[in-house]
């Protein structure tokens, strides 16, 4: 398959289970390396990226998952700050940026809650905040609404929409037909590893 996604686009990947949607995410994160073919993100040829250069590459990408992947023993603010901490940003940066981002995702006032004290939607927003705090060029979302009820899902989608408007490219893998239909963004449908549809303002089908 061959696909080009422009900077700032918002793209849905849909398709049945096992079609290869999540594999795309893994390939883009360089968790897996393809046997053949070529993947380029910005100027980086991901397929030929050296192992030791992977961390630097991943900093230009944000990632959100169905299961949130937050650290249970850290507060919302600490979870977001962790992303800055581990790449060596000074604490002063975290103090300035973290409240801003949490405010942006609508969690102002809940910085000091632990994940288990937050609802699913709120936890996912912490995850989005963590993914976005480094201002990535590309945000990958692997079924981010998979564990959320419809109303909460819509809130998270509004958030992703706002992030998209800042110029961040968003790639979202989903099974949620309502969301795809409401958003009216580019839809790429995959089956057995092949693109069967690529529509500019598509619906779930």
């Amino acid at each position: 398959m061959n696909v080009f996604i422009d900077k700032g686009e918002f793209v849905f990947f849909i398709g049945p289970t096992g079609a290869g949607k999540s594999t795309i995410i893994k390939l883009l994160l360089r968790e897996e390396i393809p046997d053949k073919g070529k993947i380029t993100v910005g100027d980086t040829d991901v397929t030929r990226l050296r192992r030791w250069k992977t961390p630097a590459y991943r900093r230009s990408i944000g990632c959100v998952f169905q299961d949130f992947r937050l650290l249970p023993n850290r507060t919302a603010a600490e979870n977001v700050a962790f992303a800055l901490e581990v790449i060596g940003k000074p604490k002063s940066v975290a103090r300035r940026v973290v409240p801003e981002v949490l405010e942006l995702v609508g969690l102002g006032g809940k910085e000091h809650r632990y994940p288990h004290e937050l609802s699913g939607g709120e936890q996912q927003r912490v995850a989005v905040a963590r993914a976005f705090v480094n201002r990535p060029l590309l945000l990958l979302a692997d079924e981010p609404t998979g564990n959320l009820d419809p109303d909460t899902s819509i809130e998270v989608m509004r958030l992703l929409d706002r992030i998209s408007r800042t110029g961040t490219t968003i790639l979202m893998v989903t099974h949620d037909s309502n969301i795809v239909n409401q958003m009216r963004r580019r839809v790429i449908e995959i089956e057995n590893g092949q693109i069967v549809r690529d529509q500019a303002r598509g619906v779930y089908g």
Binding site: R58, R59, S60, L71, F82, V86, G88, N134
Partner: protein, 291 residues
């Protein structure tokens, strides 16, 4: 800031897995103690060799019924042989005095020995102790010579015992060392598993590899250093309690093991232990969990 985070992770990791940590430190300490003892013995053999090299003598014991001309002839031949740097005659009386002096504390033994039993002898300082065998071959069959002994042959037995002890300590050190390294590998795997969530997130947000690996590697290094310190303490205790204590008489036969050479072991053991632990941890991380 990051250093603080790494250190807190290290101690948390060791504490969470305390029984394994203790096992790891104990096996390392035993292994390093043996290694240290082996190194000391190795050093000791050198010291003894040097100590005796200059003092070693070949002794030509004479028959008790030897007459004066034969004695003079042997002396002249010894001096003419070219092997001897100095030939000293020891009469039967002198031999008895020396015997009394040596066994000063065993009055019964001294009393039971007849002064005439001890043979007169020539004590020879060699030009080169390695020529001793030639001298022995030349003189041992001579008329009036009872026996020729090389003090180095007696010393050789001491060396053999030391060499055996040294091999034993090194084998134990090796076996314990392997066990210790397996425990390190295991501890690291358990630690990495219990922290897999943090590790996954760190990798996801692009933490550098060294940062992800550092807490695990430092855990191993920390255990290695503690093990080395225990081993060092054990060796110090052994010096004071065993060598200078209970078995003082036995060990006084050889030159003392100096405090300096034991102190030198601290950096050596710590360095070896820390380095090998770190490498083991790093390899474990690389191959088993691909951090």
């Amino acid at each position: 800031m990051r250093a603080k985070y790494v250190m807190s992770e290290v101690f948390l990791g060791l504490w969470r897995n305390i029984s394994m940590t203790v096992a790891m430190i104990i096996t390392m300490a035993v292994s390093l103690t043996m290694l240290g003892a082996g190194l000391l013995l190795y050093n000791q053999v050198d010291v003894i060799e040097e100590y005796y090299q200059t003092n070693l003598e070949v002794v030509v014991y004479l028959d008790r019924d030897i007459d004066q001309p034969t004695t003079d002839q042997i002396k002249a031949d010894l001096e003419a042989s070219g092997y001897a740097a100095q030939v000293k005659y020891e009469s039967q009386e002198e031999a008895y005095d020396r015997f009394k002096e040596t066994f000063e504390e065993s009055k019964d033994l001294v009393a039971s020995v007849d002064p005439t039993v001890l043979p007169a002898a020539f004590r020879i300082k060699m030009n080169d102790i390695n020529d001793a065998d030639k001298l022995i071959a030349d003189f041992s069959e001579r008329e009036g010579v009872y026996q020729v002994t090389n003090q180095r042959d007696i010393l050789q037995q001491v060396f053999d015992i030391l060499g055996g002890a040294q091999r034993l300590t090194l084998i134990v050190a090796l076996v314990q060392g392997i066990a210790a390294l397996m425990l390190v590998a295991n501890t690291i795997q358990v630690a990495a598993y219990s922290r897999r969530r943090e590790v996954a997130i760190m990798k996801l947000v692009g933490a550098p590899n060294w940062f992800v690996q550092a807490p695990f590697v430092l855990e191993a290094v920390f255990a290695g250093v503690i093990g080395a310190i225990f081993a060092f303490a054990t060796l110090i205790a052994a010096k004071f309690l065993v060598i200078d204590g209970q078995f003082k008489d036995l060990f006084s036969l050889m030159p003392p093991i100096s405090m300096q050479s034991i102190l030198l072991l601290l950096p050596i053991l710590t360095g070896i232990s820390a380095l090998i632990s770190a490498i083991t941890a790093w390899i474990t991380l690389r191959f088993n969990i691909k951090v």
